[in-house]
Structure formats: structure tokens, C-alpha cells
């Protein structure tokens, strides 16, 4: 039973490393404790990765039932969940490999790998759950694990984690309500039974049920109006964790959305009951997605912290997935699902590069960095590949999924959603250039003169992810094959793909040709370049300063307020009193509630665990009583 291994392995890893932490406590021998943890994590996640890929053979057949207080927790592997399982396994392995060196053994994150295991367990549980009850229980487990993962580190992170918890608990409650609503209407938790039963229901019930299950998914996916928890939570986590969370954790919401829309209740049913001349259900979702794309992307433009900027983008990219999937066209769904993979690769790559810089400089503040390209070229290249992917510029993979989404939107007659997607892309280009410019380009401050490139333990994951970002861009068919299978398994039309792009019947896109022509263009340019005279590299102070002499005492670097013009345009919007007041009120509310939550959860891990167990038991008892 390979599927069961997917649950057992992270659980076993969690328990083993917990035991190891107890035997070799972090406080006594930080280094030794770290080494033990690393070995367990390395082996555990490597095995998980292998099993995740082996489990492909069990799609549709693997089934696992666990009895729990008289209820059955049902797990199974579908085509859709395998796609996400493989991504979770892959990215967690890369994150762990990066963290082996990227996480300093200074005892600041004693439970890093432990919570990584538990978080992976929670996510895999959600992905594998085969009925609504299991889905909900694993959902809760996952939320709490995320919370504990975010709780590590300094004070700010704890606050942010508590803020996350407010949203997660809200989402859980709504999901619970949805669960109960469905259960009392249908009398079963099984997805297939629900789908069958719902196809006969009226509009009211479908809408209520859909709202109750989709809203938690949108909260988890940090869709526009409910995205506030994400930036502070992810930006304040340890950078490796940020990479892991931003890359995949948020996308569980996309998984849930896709599943409920196409496998759970059926979007067609929803569209049938809500269809009228002006707006349909999926258009509402697309509008949410459009806002999710545009607003956070332009918020990112005005950030001063590399990680915070990236987390805003992580939200914004979620909008593409929502729009693509909600468009419910072949190309759109393919683009949306493919975008999950692409987003995972380049966002983790970017955050790894940021982590590499933070590892050396100790800061991610964009106004304190600069000119590091001379010192950390590999991290620079990683970031460069990542931002090309993120901005959706060929030849990286982000372009392909965005192309699919654009084409779907244009041809299905949603010009303004397509425009929103394009505006978001432009906003992305602006802010990622600010990111790379402020970190790596411009003047190198004197204090970074001694900095060296990070070690191979961190370089290799970056190089590996660069290769992935580029190769899946040149050969998107490798991933699109899986996406097409998912579409087939959901009863949709398969996207017509070829190894190097999209086949002619769905509008030809040939990434291989683009790559070859690009390399040819570079080659010709190189020849022209060689035809010119010799060149010499000069220092940064030998520079045009209108005839003045530059030296280290003169700050000669433009990075603060990089898009001043945009700031002038949005001046009113940014500093308009009512908006500001509303923002402040919201901030007070969030910080107030998080403080309240902090006050409850001030104990140690055992207390936290007790809460988790208690919550689960209460839920089970309630449900058991209902039966």
C-alpha cells in the first residue's frame, strides 16, 4: 500500500524527530541535535518523494480506511490529488535539502523539521482524504501544523502566526458548518454520493453549500478580500519555511476549490442554477480572482522587504489559478492547474535566493542591500530565473501557464478579466525588477565587501530549481500531460498539448522554437559583440557623476521608493484618510485578536497539542452523536 506510506512516512518522521529532540535537546548541544534532525529529515523526505512517485500506479485504486471512534477516515488517491501530492513531496524535499545548510545551527529553530514533517502530514492528509469528514479533520490538522510552523522564531513571527490562526479557525468553522449542512441534507460524507444528491437539489441549497465550502478554500488560497493573514505570516517565518509555505501550502486551497467545483458538487450544477444573462457563478469567482491578481501585485510594488514583497506576489499568483480554474474552459483549467506547479517552482526558487542573501547579510530589507551580484552570482541567477518565471516572460515556465489562461479568457469573451491578468503581470514585472535591482544591482555598500557566495548545499537546490523552471518552460508537455489526465479524470476535455507546448488545435505555442530562436538570437548578438573592440571591467566608483569624483562616502544608489512615479499616481489612494482609517481599524482588529489568541496559547508544545487533540475529540463526539 504505497498510498498509506504517504501518510505513515511523515507521521513517522514527525514522531522520530520529536523523540530525537527529546533525547538530544536543542538547548544542550545545538549542533549535535541539529545533525540528528537533519539526518532524519533528509531520509524521511527523500523516502516520501520516492513513494509519492511510486504511488502514481495506485491512482484510483489505492484506498485506505482508518477507524476512529466509530467513524471511518477514508483516504484515497485521485489523479488530481496525486498531482498535488507529488508537488508537496517534491518541494518539501528540495526545501529540506536547502535547509540542511541554509538553516544555521544556532538553535533558533529547534522544532523546524518536526513541524515540517507534521505540516507535510497535514497537507498530504487533506490531499488524500476521500470524504468530507476526513477532509475536514485533516484540514484542521493542517491548519494547526501551519500555525505551529509559523510560531517558530521571534516575537513578530508568533504574532503573525496567531493572526493566521484567526483566519484558519474561521475557515475551519465555516468548513464545519458546510460539512454539517451537507451531511444533514445528504446523509453521507462521500463525495460521489454528495455529487449525485446535489444534482437534484434546488438553487438555494447548492449556493449555500458551495459558499460554505468555497469560502474556506478561498481563505486558505488567500483570495482578495481575505488575504490579509498571508503576508505577515509568511514574511516573518524563517525563509526556508516561507518558501515551502508560499510554494505549496496556500495552494491546498486551490486543490480544494478545484475538487469541490469539479469533483465534489460540480460547477455545472452551480452554473445551471445561477445562470442568467448577466453573471454566472464562475464569473463571480473570476472577478474575485481578478482582484486577487491585481490588488496584491500592486501592493507588492510598495513593499520594502524582499520576503514581504514575494508573499504579496504569492497571493497575486493565486489569482491566476482561481481565474484559470473558474473560467471552466479547457485551456483555462489547464493553465490554472499548470500554474500551481510553475508557481511552486519559481516562488521557491526566488525565496531560496532571498534566503541565500539573508544567510550572508542577515537582512532582507531592500533598502539595506545592493550590488550583491558581484558577491553572490548564483543567488542572483536563481533570482533572475525565478523572476522571469514569475513575471511570465518566455522562455521560463510561468509564461506557458499564463499564456493558456490569457488565451482562455480572450476566447471565452472575458476581455476585462484578461486585462486584469495582464495588468497584474505588468505590476509583477515592475516589482520583481525592484526586488532584483535593490538586492543585487546598483551600488555595493562597503559593508558587504567581505561577503562570499553561499555553500554548495544551498547552491545546488537553487541550481536544480533553475533547471526545473527553465526545462518545464522549454518542455511544458511533461507537466501538461499530468494536467490533461486530471482534466480527463474530472470528466473535462483534455488540453491538447505537445511536448514543447500547446498543440495546433488549441492555438499553437511552441516553446522549443522560442528557446532555439532565442539562443540563436543570443548567439548572433554575441558575434556582433565580439566584432567590437576589447572590453575592460571597471569598478563601481568609476562612474558617470556629471564630472564629480565618487567614492564610498557618497551614496550613489537609487533604491528607496523605486517607483516614485507610481507612488505619485497612487498617492491619493495610498494616503487617502478613509482608506487609511479603515486599514488602521483592520490592523487594530487583527493585532487585537491575535493578542487574544496569544494569551490563550501561551504554553509549550504539549499545551498546544492538547488543544488540538481536544478540538478533534470534540468534533468527533459531536459528529458521532449526530449519527
Amino acid at each position: 500500500m504505497l498510498t498509506s506510506m504517504l501518510l505513515i512516512l511523515p507521521l513517522a518522521g514527525f514522531l522520530t524527530s520529536l523523540a530525537a529532540a527529546w533525547i538530544v535537546p536543542a538547548s544542550s548541544k545545538a549542533r549535535a541535535s541539529g545533525a540528528v534532525q537533519k539526518i532524519i529529515a533528509g531520509i524521511g523526505f527523500a523516502a516520501l518523494f520516492v513513494f509519492a512517485f511510486l504511488a502514481k500506479s495506485e491512482i484510483g485504486t489505492g484506498y485506505l480506511g482508518i477507524p476512529l471512534f466509530g467513524l471511518w477516515l477514508n483516504f484515497g488517491l485521485t489523479q488530481l490529488s496525486w498531482y498535488f501530492v507529488a508537488m508537496v513531496a517534491g518541494i518539501s524535499l528540495v526545501t529540506v535539502l536547502f535547509s540542511l545548510q541554509g538553516l544555521r545551527d544556532d538553535g533558533r529553530y529547534p522544532f523546524y523539521y518536526i513541524w515540517l514533517f507534521s505540516k507535510t502530514f497535514g497537507m498530504l492528509g487533506v490531499l488524500l482524504s476521500a470524504d468530507m469528514l476526513t477532509f475536514f479533520i485533516m484540514w484542521e490538522v493542517m491548519s494547526w501544523c501551519t500555525y505551529f510552523l509559523l510560531q517558530q522564531g521571534h516575537e513578530k513571527a508568533k504574532r503573525a502566526g496567531a493572526g493566521y490562526l484567526v483566519y484558519a479557525v474561521t475557515a475551519g468553522m465555516i468548513l464545519l458548518a458546510g460539512l454539517l449542512y451537507v451531511y444533514f441534507n445528504v446523509g453521507s460524507f462521500d463525495f460521489r454520493t454528495i455529487q449525485k444528491a446535489f444534482s437534484g437539489f434546488g438553487a438555494g441549497r447548492i449556493i449555500v453549500a458551495m459558499l460554505l465550502v468555497l469560502v474556506p478554500m478561498l481563505i486558505e488560497a488567500a483570495a482578495y478580500p481575505v488575504h490579509w493573514w498571508l503576508p505577515s505570516a509568511y514574511a516573518n517565518a524563517e525563509t526556508g519555511i516561507s518558501a515551502y509555505l508560499a510554494a505549496i501550502s496556500t495552494r491546498i486551497g486551490i486543490y480544494g476549490m478545484t475538487m469541490f467545483l469539479f469533483a465534489g458538487f460540480g460547477l455545472t450544477a452551480l452554473n445551471l442554477v445561477t445562470a442568467n444573462k448577466y453573471v454566472s457563478a464562475n464569473e463571480v469567482l473570476m472577478i474575485i480572482g481578478a482582484f486577487t491578481m491585481v490588488v496584491p501585485t500592486f501592493t507588492a510594488l510598495f513593499q520594502h522587504d524582499a520576503k514581504e514583497l514575494m508573499t504579496w506576489h504569492s497571493i497575486g499568483q493565486g489569482g491566476y489559478m482561481i481565474v484559470g480554474i473558474a473560467s471552466s474552459t479547457t485551456l483555462g483549467i489547464a493553465g490554472g492547474l499548470f500554474h500551481v506547479f510553475n508557481h511552486m517552482t519559481y516562488v521557491s526558487l526566488i525565496l531560496f535566493s532571498i534566503a541565500a542573501v539573508e544567510y550572508r547579510t542577515g537582512t532582507t530589507n531592500l533598502n539595506k542591500l545592493g550590488g550583491l551580484i558581484k558577491k553572490q552570482p548564483v543567488a542572483y541567477l536563481g533570482l533572475l530565473f525565478g523572476i522571469i518565471g514569475l513575471a511570465g516572460i518566455p522562455p521560463m515556465n510561468g509564461f506557458v501557464s499564463k499564456w493558456l489562461i490569457y488565451r482562455a479568457l480572450i476566447l471565452s469573451g472575458h476581455p476585462f478579466i484578461a486585462l486584469a491578468a495582464f495588468i497584474a503581470t505588468l505590476g509583477t514585472i515592475l516589482s520583481v525588477y525592484k526586488l532584483i535591482h535593490n538586492m543585487f544591482l546598483g551600488q555595493l555598500p562597503e559593508r558587504y565587501n567581505d561577503i562570499k557566495e553561499v555553500g554548495w548545499g544551498m547552491r545546488l537546490p537553487i541550481i536544480f530549481m533553475m533547471a526545473v523552471v527553465w526545462l518545464t518552460g522549454a518542455f511544458p508537455g511533461t507537466v501538461l500531460a499530468v494536467v490533461a489526465d486530471i482534466q480527463q479524470s474530472l470528466g473535462l476535455e483534455r488540453v491538447a498539448y505537445s511536448v514543447h507546448g500547446v498543440a495546433a488545435e488549441m492555438g499553437q505555442l511552441n516553446m522549443l522554437v522560442i528557446n532555439i530562436v532565442f539562443i540563436g538570437g543570443l548567439f548572433v548578438s554575441w558575434l556582433i559583440y565580439l566584432a567590437g573592440g576589447k572590453r575592460k571591467h571597471i569598478g563601481q566608483y568609476d562612474n558617470y557623476a556629471a564630472g564629480h569624483f565618487l567614492d564610498k562616502s557618497i551614496p550613489y544608489n537609487y533604491n528607496y521608493n523605486f517607483y516614485a512615479g507610481m507612488e505619485h499616481i497612487f498617492e491619493r489612494l495610498l494616503h487617502k484618510p478613509p482608506v487609511k482609517r479603515a486599514e488602521q481599524a483592520l490592523a487594530t482588529f487583527v493585532s487585537g485578536t491575535s493578542e487574544y489568541v496569544c494569551r490563550i496559547f501561551t504554553g509549550n508544545i504539549t499545551t498546544y497539542s492538547a488543544y488540538v487533540v481536544a478540538a478533534v475529540v470534540v468534533i468527533l463526539l459531536v459528529l458521532g452523536g449526530g449519527r
Partner: protein
Amino acid sequence: MSEKMNIVTVNDGRTLYPGASAPENREYNMFIGPNHPGIEGNFALKLTLEGDTIVQARTDAGYLHRGFEKLMEQRLYMQNIAIVPRICVPDPDPNEENYARAIEAIAHIEVPRRAQFIRVMMLELSRIASHLFAFGGFAGTLGLYTMPNWSISDRDRILELFEALTGARIYHIYIIPGGVRRDLPEGFAQRVKDTLFYIESKLPEYDNLLFENSIIRKRSRGIGVIPPEKAMEWGVTGPNLRAAGFAHDVRIDDPYEVYNELEFDIPIAHESDALARMLVRRKEVEESIRIIRQVLDKMPSGPVWNKQPNPLKWKVPAGDAYVRTESSKGEYAYYMVSNGDVRPYRVHVRGASVTHGVHVLEKLLIGTRIEDASQVMFSLDACPPEVDR
């Protein structure tokens, strides 16, 4: 977030997290000049910016320093006539005028009436030339390169008049103590009239292209405002002062030569911004044309030079004089002290450009955006060689 991170020092003494405790680099320096198209001459602005907004501005002068006031002390009175116009390159004649008038005031020399008219004509032609130059420069800072091509080539017509009259395009060395160097050549008055007619016919084109151009107006309105209540305190003079709503003009307040016999208006504006300053100059061109026309009509015949003794041995009697002239840049004054020698004891030049180009500019630039820095400077129309002297 990483601010709180402890700075760990590794064995070789360097800090492990050099960025953790570093300050944020919000401010940076920018240099406009001396080698920059956005500067009027060999002059520099050292700006400190935050984002695109100037938070501090220092001018850096001295690139053109030749020590005129010292040089004048070691040369004969007559020799100095050759170097004074070089103090202000775009508008040299007020220097000659001031220098000549200072000596005339000390030595009580009568200037023939015809020479006075010719001097007024020279000064006003020079003003028109200088303003045309300023229009071109101002339009250039805003990216409208058609304007400099038109206005500077039209300015060349005036330079041709100068050449016909004095033999030189830029430094005329024409106004000398006791009158002017030589009389108008034959047919010159008609030539001047033709040129004025030509320039007048071009003014509507300038209006269309520059002064009524919507984008130029949009960009220069409200930029570099000299607060009218501060204008006097800061020592602003000339068109810049008149753009702030004050009808001050040396030609009216303290008339010299024959200005009190001529009829002309003092254009003023109230906005006191870059656009208003240029519009005042634009109207002054018309007024200058009017003045020159009157001069040509009223000019009497007679000698043009009250002959002075041998210049190599010429001793100006002891005494001092303060003379002032309205130049295209503002109020222009010389204070000359003579101890009865063949050389002046001291000549002090009071130029408008030190005020405008250094003190006022430094104040106006604060809070201005980098795109408008050179626009503000060109709208003040300071003259760097005159700042340095």
C-alpha cells in the same frame, strides 16, 4: 524583521550579518553638472534625494572662476573694457554699460545724446538675444528641442546686427567711457527694423510651440514657486521678481541713459512659478522691440564719443561710484573705486545670478522632483560665469 537578530562575529573578526544593524539607505546623491546637459554652464548642483524628491540641494560653483575683480585691478581702465563683457556671456552688454557709466560717474564725463540712444538700443538688443537664448534653454529642459533650434537661430540675426555694428558677435567691446566706439553704419537703422519685424513675426510661432503648449504649461505650472512675500527678502530681481507680482525695474525706478524719455510697460505676473517667469520674459521681448523702435525714431544726430585722453596714460580722478543696470537676468550693478591711478582701485560686481543661481535656487529645489530641477534652474535664467566671475 532581522533588525533584532544578534550580530554574530566569526573568528576572523568580520560580522556574520553585516546587514542586520546597517541603516536603511534612503537618501542618495545626484549630481547635475558640471558635465550634464541639464545645467546652464560650467556649474554644478549637488542634490540629495529621497526617491525622486530633492531633500537637500547645494550648488557647486567656482568652475568658471577667473578672478575678474582682481584682474581688473591690475589692468588699465581701457584694457578692462575688453574683459568686462566676459563676466556674463549670454548678456554681455550690461557689463560694458555699467563699467562705462561707473567711470563716467567718477570722472564726470558727458555722454553724447546719440551715444545714449545707441547704448539703449544695444542693451535692448542684447536683452532680446538673451531672452531668446533662455527660451531655447527652457524648452530644452522640457524636451522640446524644436524651440532651441528656432529661437537660437533667430537670435543669430541679432548677433549679425552686433557684428555689423561692432565687429563681434558676442563680446562687443562697444560701449566705452564717453560714448560708444563708432557710429551706426549706413542703413543700419533699417536693418535693425527689419530684424525686429522678423522677430516680432516669429513670436506667435513661439507662443504656439512653447508658451501655449499644453504639456509645457502642465509641467511648468506651479514648479519652483518663489513665495512673493519672500521675494524681496531673498534679493530676487529682474524678470524673476516681476513674475512674483512686483513691478520693479531699474529702467523705471532709477532711469539711466534715455529710458525716461521712452515709453514702455513693465510686464508682471503673479504666479511666480517657472512658467510665469518665462512668460514675463516673453512679454519683455515685445517691450524691448517697442523700445528699440522708439530709439530708432527719436535718435538725434551728432557725435557718438566724447573723446578721452590717451588710454594708456588715462588717470581717472579719485572717487567712487555705484551704478546699476537692468540686465536680462536682473539688477546688475558695479561699485567702482578709483584712487586716481591708471588702474581702478577696486571694482565690485553685483550680479543678479549669485542670488538667483545660488541662494534662491538652493531654496527652490527642496521638495522639487528630479525631473524639474533643471527646469527650475533655467527658469531662473542665472548665468554661471557671472556667479563665479
